[in-house]
């Protein structure tokens, strides 16, 4: 069972020590960052999350670390492949994903993750399937106006514009332009 999934970069800005959750993130960050690149990707967390049954399995991509905290019922090598699938899916959904994409669209990252892992268990590993489902849901969202509810606002804004009176005839010397009768913008 997958207990936690963490993503952080090299700088891992320390955050307010509000809850245990933040503490776990900080400790994990320190443990993983100490690791060299040529040693294995498995860490026993021991004291970290109360119980020596848990392991941290991580992969390092450019500036980002993807860390999965799992118990003994998951295959370590399998999780490594799962992280790869997840990152490749992010890449497909965001088109050459980079750190900024993850920061500005953390809700989308969550939604993608919801298609991959559910309740601590692996749900779907077929990348094309996940991407197809994400696209369908995004289309559904777009048709409703999206997260910012922007188009709805735009329409109502335009409705309220006071279009000034357009003169019927514009006299510019010899030219006589007849302005067509524009219907009220609906």
């Amino acid at each position: 069972m997958i207990l936690a999934i963490l993503v952080f970069n090299n700088h891992g800005k320390p955050r307010l020590p509000e809850e245990i959750q933040q503490q776990i993130v900080r400790e994990t960050f320190h443990l993983v960052l100490k690791r060299d690149d040529n040693i294995c990707n498995f860490l026993e967390s021991g004291s970290l999350i109360g119980g020596s049954d848990y392991k941290l399995i991580y992969r390092h991509y450019a500036t980002l670390y993807f860390v999965f905290c799992v118990d003994s019922s998951e295959s370590e090598l399998g999780i490594l492949d799962l992280i790869q699938v997840f990152v490749e899916t992010l890449d497909k959904c965001f088109e050459n994903v980079c750190e900024l994409d993850l920061i500005f669209h953390m809700d989308k990252v969550h939604f993608i993750l919801q298609e991959v892992v559910m309740g601590g268990m692996v749900l779907e590993t077929n990348m094309n399937e996940i991407v197809a489902q994400m696209e369908a849901q995004n289309r559904l969202e777009k048709s409703e106006g999206g997260l910012s509810a922007a188009p709805a606002r735009a329409v109502s804004a335009v409705k309220n514009i006071n279009l000034p009176e357009i003169p019927r005839n514009i006299n510019i010397g010899d030219l006589n332009i007849k302005v067509p009768n524009l219907s009220q913008f609906v």
């Binding site: 509000e18 990707n41 370590e76 268990m121 369908a136 997260l147």
Partner: protein, 506 residues
């Protein structure tokens, strides 16, 4: 009141903050704006506000005042609202808040929604954070969805069922009829989650386990198809067809075959096939092999298969990839009790791993080395282990020293060797030995009467050079006190009688 800023704007603004205090100020300002917007019951911007709240929650700031808003979003008709609402519920709520029970009715309605994605959202939320009460109320709906033909929903329902069973084990019976056709699915997503569901049920109840044993032939068939099928672009990962499903099936076979001769018999062939035909050049192949090895070791397999498995592990040990070496050492540790001789064949490779740079591998190698020590190899192994004790990191020294003492006690070829070994440990890692090492050693010395002279000579020489290691000094002091006469009288044939100078320990 001006429109609340977009999520993107907020993120951009926060990133410009140069100090923690500046960021906190921005967040507080935005929280205040969000709070007043919530108070105004503005439906249009609620999802935008909750999205921002979730971002701030991720950064570590309190966001509990958004919990009720999430519920309002879930109840909305728009997909966008529901999506963010459910996400918010999963992030901000858990069973400890009473508020979460209010979701039950919404989830129930959404489980029967006409749009599959809404149903999917509801299943996801229930499967991630449903409490026992919620699970009890909604188990029936989940069971219905488990029988649907829509594969998107079926796979989610399967995992949701696992969660329900975990929370309320008594409901397991309810899902039994729905499992009848699960393995007939073509869709790999559904197959995968079905195997997870079956695994969970088998692990929890011996009756279920007995019931599902009849599925072994079907599982073997599915696995065979995966291996023989050739290239399938949909499920291909580095040249292997759906390794995740293969690994899951292998794990289920392990549970079904344990302690059962018939089932183990039925899977012998396929296990041998997987073990010999899988490509090992990439991590994927090795993951499957690893799972196969674990399965072979756990069921009642024939001895030829077991030897094959251990040889695979031996090959893993020589692999360049440290991850593979790590899992190999872990597995060998599990099997060393039952298949001791087979593992002994790989002893030299294991001992080489003591010199690896990686801390996790060193630890595994050390534990395995101690497990492999026996009367025949004690001298050679001890040399390696003492060398390891010398050069390893401080965090290992205590465990290594204890291990050496235990091994020496069990298999020492001679008393002299035993004492030499203990002295060596005390001089190299004296400050790391456990407290009971000193009395044990004294006991040992007392009992080996013929060694008294030799021992006291060696101890004296040892502390002459260096008396910083406390246990050594303790033992030496006691010894010299007891057998000091032997020290000066020259009774020991090997050493010259020495002039003892008074050593004042300042």
């Amino acid at each position: 009141m001006p429109a609340p800023i977009r999520l993107r704007e907020l993120i951009r603004t926060i990133r410009t903050a140069r100090t923690q205090a500046e960021e906190r100020e921005m967040i507080q300002k935005e929280c205040a704006a969000i709070r007043s917007s919530f108070r105004e019951e503005d439906n249009t911007y609620r999802c935008r506000n909750v999205a921002k709240l979730l971002y701030m929650h991720m950064l570590g700031y309190p966001a509990h005042f958004g919990q009720l808003e999430c519920l309002k979003l879930i109840a909305s008709q728009k997909f966008t609202d529901k999506r963010i609402g459910y996400l918010g519920a999963m992030l901000l709520l858990d069973e400890r808040q009473d508020v979460h029970l209010l979701m039950t009715n919404c989830i129930k309605n959404d489980l029967n929604h006409s749009t599959q994605y809404v149903q999917g959202l509801a299943l996801c939320t229930l499967g991630c954070m449903g409490s026992s009460e919620m699970c009890r109320d909604l188990a029936g709906e989940v069971e219905k969805l488990l029988k649907t033909s829509n594969s998107y929903l079926r796979k989610k329902a399967a995992l949701c069922a696992v969660h329900v069973i975990r929370k309320v084990p008594e409901l397991m019976e309810m899902f039994l009829p729905a499992t009848k056709n699960l393995l007939n699915e073509k869709n790999h997503g559904v197959l995968h989650t079905s195997v997870v569901l079956l695994t969970e049920m088998c692990e929890r109840s011996p009756d279920m386990l007995a019931h599902f044993r009849k599925l072994v032939p079907q599982l073997v068939r599915i696995l065979k198809n995966l291996i023989m099928s050739g290239y399938s672009p949909e499920h291909d990962v580095s040249g292997i067809s759906d390794p995740f499903l293969q690994v899951r099936i292998l794990r289920l076979l392990r549970i079904l075959g344990r302690n059962d001769d018939d089932s183990s018999e039925a899977m012998n062939d396929i296990l041998a096939q997987v073990a010999t035909n899988t490509e090992t050049s990439k991590n994927v192949g090795n993951a499957i092999l690893y799972e196969t090895v674990l399965t072979i070791m756990d069921i009642k397999s024939e001895s030829g298969l077991r030897v094959l498995a251990i040889n695979i592990l031996g090959r893993f040990l020589l692999n360049n990839d440290k991850n593979i070496r790590y899992v190999a050492l872990t597995s060998l540790l599990k099997t060393v009790q039952t298949d001791h001789n087979a593992v002994q064949r790989h002893r030299s490779t294991i001992v080489d791993c003591l010199k690896d740079l990686d801390v996790s591998i060193k630890r595994r190698a050390m534990e395995l080395s101690f497990a492999l020590v026996n009367g025949n190899n004690i001298r050679g192994m001890m040399k390696e282990l003492l060398y390891f004790l010398d050069s390893c990191e401080p965090e290992f020294k205590a465990d290594c020293a204890s291990g050496i003492f235990l091994a020496a006690e069990k298999y020492a070829p001679s008393k002299r060797w035993h004492i030499d070994t203990i002295m060596r440990v005390l001089t190299t890692a004296g400050s790391y030995v456990r407290d009971d090492a000193v009395p044990n050693l004294i006991q040992l010395i007392t009992n080996s009467v013929e060694m008294h002279a030799y021992t006291v000579q060696r101890l004296y020489k040892a502390i002459l050079g260096d008396y910083s290691q406390q246990p050594l000094v303790q033992v030496a002091a006691w010894c010299i006190g007891e057998y000091g006469d032997l020290l000066v009288s020259g009774q020991c044939e090997e050493e010259e009688p020495i002039q003892v100078c008074l050593v004042t320990l300042g």
